[in-house]
Subunit: 144 residues, 2 copies
């Protein structure tokens, strides 16, 4: 009797999962993003000041790199290539280009990257002393 | 003499800022995302388990809603309409649809939303007890 009851619970559980996609209000859309690739989707932002959480967000773009480069980033292809080359080490794309000279006044600009890269969660923040350093960074990932 | 030196510093500063876009490796791309709208760009994810930070990210999509609905979200238009209607209160789009019945086994699925909505930073996390509850949520924002 205990065995039968247990089977019944398991059957109900299985049924619950099996019918779920049909009962959801948007079940049909669910298959649209199934992919062979580990998910990669990023939001990149530029914020005035040195406080990414509370500062005023000036610009924000999306970037996806698999299966192909896309999103609202103005140079998605190049940005994806840079991230792929460096294994998504954002530190390298904000490093200063050796050929760029900037004054050192403190008028900070903060860039962030949030989301997922190859299934790995990303939460990156970097503050440039001023916008000249940002524009002079050795990469196009944050050039928007 | 001091006056001249100060002017020189100011001139150099102005020059430094003025030439910066040209010296950056992707200065030309910079104007691409200037917009009349406050920035809105989101990454939505579905993660197995109840730990959004360290769990395995199953799926991730991007969603932008201004000037028009876009991104890799399979139902971007409807998702944007839902978020706009609720003022991007993500709590309302994960609320249970009253018509859906689910078993209560603990097989958690966590959804996250990160990025920017109307210039305001978003960091939302919600754990469903199991995928049936996720599919039965009253909204399509996390239906991918």
């Amino acid at each position: 009797m205990r065995y039968i009851a247990k089977s019944l619970v398991l059957a109900t559980t299985a049924l619950g999962i099996a019918v779920a996609p049909g009962t959801g209000s948007a079940g049909a859309a669910q298959t649209g993003t199934q992919s062979l690739y580990a998910p990669s989707a990023l939001v990149l932002t530029v914020t005035a000041g040195d406080d990414a959480l509370n500062g005023s967000v000036l610009r924000a773009v999306t970037l996806t790199c698999t299966p192909r480069a896309g999103g609202t980033h103005p140079a998605a292809g190049t940005a994806c290539a840079e991230l792929r080359a460096g294994g998504a080490r954002f530190e390298s794309v904000v490093a200063a280009d050796s050929g760029v000279m900037c004054t050192k006044q403190w008028d900070p600009v903060t860039v962030t990257a949030d989301g997922v890269w190859d299934g790995r969660r990303i939460a990156f923040t970097h503050t440039f002393a001023n916008s000249c350093f940002k524009e002079g960074a050795d990469g196009v990932v944050f050039a928007f």
